[in-house]
């Protein structure tokens, strides 16, 4: 059990300073009215490789929408693998008023370490108001309380934001529940798959399609700063990298390149797109500044250089190259200088993605006819951890807090196809992300709030 007394006085105001960074966010107004947190005594220590999930009681929120909100919170916490929500049938106390101090002894009896209570009401102006409190059952004190307002169509986000607040309070790390996934929805025969850009909440809810399947589309990635994605589309001519506004559906080719462009990704400040350009069979890496429209060539080899991904501070780029024979991972400075190989294990390595925390690279590894997902330290040597193994695992993407990796796993044969999975950084808690059709190329958004 990873319960310990944490003497550190958490600066609990920090994480409720909501950043309204995007147009979508403007639809939501969240106000913190009360904030009473002081010392956190219940914590989930996620620094260890093997975490015992924290038993937590999420009591049904009061109000018409309350039970739905609290059940989403419960599902989020369970899905993280770090919490074990206790069956409500075991609850002794029924909390009708979350403003009254709970009978902690009733919650100790069922071994709950933490307790969540709350309410959701519809205001006169139609907005939803949610209040919640997080209690340390054995410390007999409140850890956190907060109040949020939002439009009536944002109830799931309300639940995700509360889930993130609980996650952060108890783990000491930022959450990832208030985020989305953009991916490729796949339908039809494997011989001529129909592929559509699709977007959904991280828990699979609110799926909607951004393209109609007429054009073959691949590898969508979120902008870190705007409601935009970059992706590759075959259109009706030469395949190119595109930029697309999520809300308006406006799209355009990125740059004027004399050949196929592919494998795009944003820079951490959202101002550049980095990608591969193929010319006469040679694939090199270029960056394009979205404001000045200037392009910069970053690699110059006769090999296949692709899958570039910036470090979180934008100073370096990890990419794959077969310049040494097989595909391996290399890190270079953001200006293209000083490329150094970082992968040295048995097999070939591809699709590197830099962790948002900056310390790890997630990758696809092919060895012995199998496709694995793994992570390695930047210095590479002999320090990799394989998180998923099998016939075909490909294309990792990081949760905003760098704790969870999502990827796709393909089953073989004519009827086979890809599905999305998530797995904890430690290799535990692998989960299928439910999608209506086959799904591939997931990319995780930053936190929305």
């Amino acid at each position: 059990m990873s319960i310990k007394v944490n003497s550190q006085n958490l600066n609990s105001h920090m994480f409720l300073m909501i950043k309204l960074t995007t147009a979508l966010m403007l639809a939501i107004s969240m106000l913190m009215a009360t904030y009473l947190s002081s010392h956190a005594k219940v914590v989930v220590d996620i620094t260890k490789g093997n975490v015992e999930p924290l038993p937590i009681a999420v009591s049904s929120f009061s109000g018409e929408l309350g039970p739905e909100i609290s059940s989403i919170i419960e599902a989020n916490l369970r899905g993280s693998g770090l919490f074990r929500p206790i069956d409500q049938a075991a609850f002794i106390q029924k909390i009708d008023d979350h403003n009254v101090i709970p009978r902690f002894e009733d919650w100790r009896v069922i071994s709950a370490q933490a307790l969540v209570s709350g309410t959701v009401v519809t205001e006169a102006d139609g907005r939803l108001k949610a209040e919640f409190r997080l209690w340390d059952v054995f410390g007999s004190e409140q850890l956190l309380s907060a109040q949020y307002f939002t439009g009536s169509n944002n109830k799931r986000r309300l639940a995700h934001i509360i889930s993130d607040a609980i996650y952060k309070e108890l783990t000491g790390e930022g959450g990832y529940f208030d985020s989305r996934i953009v991916f490729i929805d796949e339908s039809g025969s494997k011989l001529r798959r129909v592929k559509r850009l699709a977007i959904m909440d991280q828990d699979g809810a609110n799926l909607r399609y951004l393209s109609n399947g007429d054009d073959l589309v691949l590898t969508p990635r979120f902008s870190p700063t705007r409601q935009e994605i970059t992706y590759m589309s075959f259109g009706t001519g030469e395949p190119k990298v595109y930029l697309r506004q999520i809300e308006t559906g406006q799209f355009d080719v990125v740059g004027k390149f004399p050949g196929m462009t592919f494998s795009p990704r944003f820079s951490p400040d959202g101002q550049k797109i980095i990608m591969s350009l193929n010319q006469d069979g040679r694939s090199n890496i270029y960056s394009l500044d979205l404001r000045s429209r200037t392009t910069t060539r970053l690699t110059n080899s006769s090999a296949i250089d692709t899958s570039p991904s910036y470090s979180p501070d934008g100073s370096r780029i990890v990419f794959e190259s077969d310049r040494g024979g097989r595909q391996q991972l290399y890190v270079m400075n953001a200006d293209g200088t000083n490329a150094q190989r970082i992968s040295f294990g048995q097999g070939s390595y591809s699709t590197p993605v830099w962790s948002p925390r900056g310390d790890l690279i997630a990758f696809t590894k092919q060895t012995g006819g199998q496709f694995q997902i793994g992570v390695m330290k930047i210095d590479g040597k002999k320090k990799e951890r394989i998180l998923a193994d099998g016939f075909h695992n490909e294309g990792p993407t990081w949760s905003p807090n760098g704790r969870v990796i999502m990827f796709f796993r393909e089953t073989p044969g004519a009827k086979g196809g890809p599905k999305l999975y998530s797995v904890d950084l430690t290799g535990r808690n692998e989960r299928l992300i439910k999608t209506p059709n086959f799904a591939s190329d997931p990319a995780w958004s930053p936190l929305l709030n």
């Binding site: 025969s189 494997k190 011989l191 001529r192 798959r193 592929k195 073959l216 691949l218 590898t219 590759m232 075959f234 259109g235 009706t236 001519g237 030469e238 395949p239 190119k240 930029l243 506004q245 559906g249 406006q250 799209f251 355009d252 080719v253 196929m260 592919f262 494998s263 591969s276 193929n278 006469d280 069979g281 040679r282 694939s283 296949i304 692709t306 899958s307 794959e320 077969d322 097989r326 595909q327 591809s350 699709t351 696809t364 092919q366 006819g369 496709f371 075909h392 490909e394 294309g395 393909e410 073989p412 044969g413 004519a414 086979g416 591939s440 190329d441």
Partner: protein, 171 residues
């Protein structure tokens, strides 16, 4: 930001490419090197009009195959391409598109690049045999358009291919 594609559109090219790609879908898990094997109007194999699309795919062979992760042209591939070049020089009115493809046993981005490298190698061979480079367009489909979908090497080897497609004659 404008909307819409800025890519050149050519309905004629699209029509021919689609026709062949769909024919490819009907293939059985054996290695076809001509349209007969692709289910293209097989009753007319021997009656293909000289200089026609059918003549090219049936009597010359429209595709070459590669080994895993390789872009080098095998002896068989070079023979096929030499035949293609002769035919294309005899019938100079067809612009052509060379499609490069990869099997499913690779990652998506790498396979796009690999398909491009195969298409380029194929084009370069045709050019070395006298076909004007300006007649040849290349495109890579990576692993996105297999012609065989069983789960073993007999299918994967059919998918590692470069296919020469005739587009509408210009004159």
């Amino acid at each position: 930001m404008s909307t819409g594609h800025s890519i050149l559109k050519s309905p004629a090219i699209v029509a021919v490419v689609l026709g062949l790609a769909l024919a490819g879908c009907a293939s059985k898990p054996k290695i076809p090197t001509n349209a007969g094997g692709l289910g293209l109007n097989s009753s007319n194999i021997n009656g293909a009009v000289a200089g026609s699309q059918q003549d090219f795919t049936v009597n010359v062979g429209d595709r070459v195959f590669f080994t895993t992760d390789s872009t080098s042209l095998t002896d068989v591939a070079q023979q096929t391409l030499a035949g293609q070049a002769s035919w294309l020089l005899r019938y100079p009115n067809y612009p052509i598109t060379v499609e490069g493809h990869a099997d499913e046993r690779g990652t998506r981005e790498y396979n796009l690049a690999l398909g491009a490298r195969r298409a380029a190698a194929t084009r370069d061979y045709l050019v070395s045999r006298g076909v004007p480079r300006s007649r040849i367009r290349t495109i890579s489909f990576g692993k996105e358009r297999p012609v065989a979908v069983c789960n073993d090497i007999s299918c994967w080897s059919q998918n590692r291919r470069a296919v020469t497609l005739l587009t509408a004659p210009t004159g």
